[in-house]
């Protein structure tokens, strides 16, 4: 997969209450949740986002609650990929299950600046800083997750299994 977009830089330990506060968890509609994406940082945070933009965050992005509403809110706001130093584990599973791409970069996230444009090629494992043309390599997805994402995510995987088992 390839992605290109403007960076919104965030810090360490962005928790799921920041991504989508609990008071908005009375729906699972992506568009509705998307309108409140990052409302735990600032109520109008999402106003700065245009479709295709990319969040670049620090350590432990998505920590806290298991709410799948968090990746759904990010997708609902029009963003399809998040780059971070590292991700919290429940968020990590939820994102791939929902088709939100995650790129774990480690300390190299520090080389990406707020507002700049970046391009990502997941097959090549390369992130490019568009202004300078410099690249950052990242490890490709683990085989199991790669197959899950390529197969269309967890919903498609289960659908396929149920169809074959006749359950």
């Amino acid at each position: 997969m390839r992605y290109k977009g403007k960076v919104h830089k965030l810090g360490d330990h962005i928790d799921t209450d920041a991504i989508i506060p609990a008071k908005y968890l009375v729906t699972y509609d992506p568009a509705e949740l998307g309108r409140k994406c990052m409302a735990g940082l600032a109520e109008d945070w999402v106003d700065r986002v245009r479709p295709g933009d990319i969040i670049v965050a620090g350590r432990n992005f998505g920590c806290g609650s298991s709410r799948e509403h968090a990746p759904v809110a990010i997708l609902g706001a029009g963003m399809r990929v998040v780059v971070a130093h590292s991700f919290a584990r429940i968020f990590y599973r939820n994102a791939f299950n929902r088709g939100l791409m995650l790129i774990e970069l480690g300390d190299a996230v520090d080389r990406i600046a707020d507002g700049e444009e970046i391009a990502i090629d997941t097959e090549a494992g390369l992130l490019t800083l568009c202004s300078s043309g410099r690249t950052i390599a990242f490890p490709k997805l683990p085989g199991f997750i790669d197959r899950l994402v390529q197969g269309g995510g967890l919903i498609a995987y289960v659908k396929n299994r149920l169809a074959h088992s006749g359950a």
């Binding site: 330990h13 609990a22 009375v26 806290g64 939820n94 919903i155």
Partner: protein, 419 residues
């Protein structure tokens, strides 16, 4: 292979041979859990999967505990959606209304989770059941939907961190303080993707309830689970909860750990986690002149009967500061009745507390105690992220029940020995 507790429990639930950490294995699950916030999305995912039935109607628990009693029309619609699903699929363990409690207090009490189980729940504090010797972890709604349909899920076998507590617990220091100490020590991502495994004489002497308070906050260190061996005490708890056939289970001597942490607790004092991260931990005595407007005693971390006893012991014969609303939420109906029978409810009411129903309510800023701009709370809950309990301009300090109760009396954060 000498196995950690995490490896050992997973091995019992998978046909694959576990050879190393990081290996991905498919496991049969003992119980699948979701609540009123996460179940609607799980049901929606299940429908998208084309799953027409659940794997086992006796092994799914749907607990309507977060925004209940239904706080508004939207949350009532969510609960209604789940209730109709539960009826259609004849889900045995559907809880709403008078039989409902905070899920991670309720399910152990009902004997629905126990030693050696693999439990997945669409709630991050599912790790609580590690206190009973269960491999239990939080997942999102779609993962839980898959588990509801298939009765299995995949796990990456986690590396384990062995935490040994030595010495003896001083007065006023509880399981909550031990887990806050650990989170302060290793940080909110210190156990990311890993299992925490608790050992040592202090742990052996802890009550099962206290062990659950510790396991509950494994996620606050990023952990996949927080595990305790199931010993005689655990089995007694399981039998009292109506379970049969459980056995003791422990890690093999000589199992390989990624990291080992030992700590002598004998000089520990009660701790608080300061805003806005659970790792911002310091002794309560170092927090000076911090006034509070709210105290919350309850939640899946500290809403059990032993917690209420600790709070009541401090509140007995004292008055909550008039500037403070002290909200006590016994975590299940049984705990409520027990507190009533023991006279604890009288103590809370006489001291000026608000005693409410069993709900997660204020812990996640849902309802029943929301903070305004500039307000500050001390809570026996598990998270103090910015805005967690209400306004983005409010603050939450986390503590054990005695510290929360003492602070409610003083009107500011204080060590219970100082009031």
């Amino acid at each position: 292979m000498r196995m950690t507790l995490a490896q050992k429990i997973l091995q019992r639930h998978t046909a694959e041979e576990i050879r190393e950490d990081g290996q991905i294995v498919n496991c049969k699950v003992s119980l699948v859990l979701a609540n009123d916030v996460t179940a609607p999305m799980a049901i929606s995912s299940m429908l998208d999967m084309g799953a027409e039935r659940v794997f086992d109607r006796d092994r799914i628990a749907l607990v309507m505990d977060h925004f209940t009693p239904q706080k508004d029309i939207a949350s009532a619609m969510q609960v209604k959606f789940v209730r109709e699903f539960a009826r259609k699929h004849q889900i045995t363990h559907y809880y709403e209304g008078g039989n409902c409690g905070v899920e991670h207090a309720l399910l152990p009490e009902l004997g629905l989770v126990g030693p050696g189980d693999v439990v997945v729940g669409a709630d991050s504090h599912t790790c609580t059941y590690g206190g009973l010797g269960a491999f239990a972890t939080g997942l999102g709604s779609t993962d839980v939907a898959a588990a509801m349909a298939l009765g299995e899920t995949w796990f990456k076998v986690p590396p384990s961190i062995k935490v040994t507590f030595n010495g003896s617990l001083p007065e006023w220091v509880t399981g909550k303080d031990l887990v806050l100490w650990l989170i302060g020590e290793i940080g909110v991502d210190g156990a990311l993707y890993k299992a925490l495994e608790f050992h040592g004489p202090v742990v052996e002497n802890l009550s099962v309830e206290s062990r659950m308070s510790i396991a509950n906050m494994a996620i606050e260190a990023g952990g996949k689970c927080g595990l305790f061996a199931a010993d005689r005490k655990t089995l007694d708890y399981a039998v009292a909860a109506g379970r049969k056939g459980d056995r003791e289970i422990a890690a093999d001597p000589g199992a390989a750990y990624e990291r080992e942490i030992s700590f002598d607790v004998s000089a520990l004092t009660p701790l608080v986690a300061c805003p806005h991260l659970p790792e911002n931990v310091c002794p309560v005595t170092e927090v000076k002149d911090v006034s509070i407007q709210q105290a919350v005693i309850g939640s899946c971390t500290n809403g059990r009967i032993s917690d209420l006893r600790e709070a009541a012991a401090v509140l007995k014969g004292r008055r909550v500061d008039p500037q403070v609303r002290c909200i006590v939420l016994p975590a299940t109906p049984n705990i409520w009745k027990q507190a009533l029978a023991e006279g604890l409810i009288d103590i809370f009411m006489d001291s000026g507390c608000i005693v409410g129903p069993a709900t997660c309510g204020p812990c996640l800023g849902g309802h029943m105690g929301i903070l305004a701009d500039g307000e500050r709370a001390i809570a026996t809950t598990n998270r103090n992220f910015r805005g967690r309990m209400g306004s983005l301009e409010s603050e939450v300090y986390l503590s054990n029940p005695a510290v929360a109760a003492a602070s409610a009396v003083a009107g500011h954060i204080i060590h219970p020995a100082e009031i």
